[in-house]
Homo-oligomer: 218 residues x 2
DNA sequence: GCGTTTATCTATAGCCCAATAGGTAGAATT
DNA sequence: AATTCTACCTATTGGGCTATAGATAAACGC
């Protein structure tokens, strides 16, 4: 009796095939000009289509921003958690966290920059959702740092909260000056990780250069 | 013969007495909503005056942005240079640079945030001028770091450019999460300076705790 | 007291911009 | 071949925003 919609049965080629391309254009424009500084016309110009045609792909300018932001961080939280719960010293884990934090810059720097700089302009609901995500990431970092302190690997007088904010600030800033022509991301993240762990100061007599595993316990 | 304007002679009370207040309101609104996200109406609302009245104090919205940005960094470059050329170890200078970099957050955080986040939206001429200023500050930092390497105080394998970008990224990020209720700026900058110099890792047997002066020369 | 300056106001011009409505050519499906 | 769907298009509405023009009241200086 009731007419079953045959929609799901037909059209094996999904609609909106260019959607990724459209979102990427939005990411580029938002990254360059900021959300409010960019117009939908600007995005359309990049793609060579009319401004109104964009609304076939996203419901609103804010909706486009949300799509871009989500793609900017997709999958990262899982990776971070995996690193934190894998074996290794706290210093090793922290290095890996920093590296995986910077890795998306190689192929998605526009998305990352938009997430970092423009997420504040999301409508309040999705902003809160994404704020929760951010705090989750901070939490993973802080747990690793605390672990390092607990195991006597890191300084006992470390303010773990401030240390995490410093590390994330340092790493996130890279999104704003990194241009993929110059230095490789691996180089940057390696240097950053080293800096966080060892600082700039020369150690006195690094006796055994190879082993880094600390004495366990306090 | 020619009529000398008596303007300069009269009115010892200079005009535009509220200008500082107006610029501060602009700074607050720009900091919160971003330059393009803010309207001149928003600024007027903060002050309780009409939107058009603002144009008695600044020539355009972009002009207001420029005034805010300039106040965000006024005097800082001179302080930085003075620190760099004063006596002391590189580590001490670097610590002082970081502290003086964060100091303006106590009483001018809105101005600093606008400078950091919105200066890209300045008209191209003043943007270039201010970009030059920024590079000057980076230069001061890098010179100190290089000095530390040269004197054998810092690691020889340090990438000084990346180190400076890391330090500034870390410090500048603080502008975006610091709210003056919570922690004192001195606390934050102290912790940051320590982190940059020593890293998170525990040193092995810090023998003489008091003296920090390194052996001079390589 | 009288001209002048200061600090606002009202009103509006003139853009620009997001978003909607409705149309259409061509490809895909049946 | 007929129908449906995809991926655009044109045209337009309606609102918001910066900036200007001109008026005015109060304060100031002589």
């Amino acid at each position: 009796m009731t007419v079953v919609p045959l929609r799901s049965r037909r059209s094996r080629t999904s609609p909106r095939r260019r959607a990724p391309e459209i979102i990427e254009a939005a990411a580029r424009v938002f990254a360059q000009q900021g959300f409010h500084g960019a117009t939908t016309q600007d995005i359309a110009d990049v793609l060579g289509i009319r401004q109104a045609s964009l609304y076939y792909y996203f419901p609103s300018k804010e909706g486009a921003l949300e799509l871009v932001c989500l793609q900017g961080v997709a999958g990262y939280f899982e990776v971070a958690k995996a690193i934190a719960s894998a074996p290794g010293t706290a210093a090793e884990k922290l290095s890996r966290l920093i590296k995986s934090h910077l890795a998306p810059l190689t192929d998605r720097s526009d998305f990352v920059r938009v997430f970092l700089n423009e997420r504040q302009h999301l409508p309040s609901e999705s902003r809160r959702r994404i704020g929760k995500w951010s705090r989750g990431v901070e939490r993973v970092f802080e747990d690793v740092v605390k672990e390092g302190v607990r195991r006597g690997e890191f300084r006992a007088d470390l303010d773990t909260r401030l240390a995490v904010l410093a590390i994330l600030g340092m790493a996130n800033a890279a999104a704003n000056w990194y241009r993929h022509e110059e230095v490789a991301i691996e180089r940057i993240s390696g240097e950053f990780a080293r800096l966080v762990v060892d600082g700039v100061k020369k150690r006195r007599k690094p006796r055994s250069r190879g082993r880094r595993v600390p004495r366990p316990g306090r």
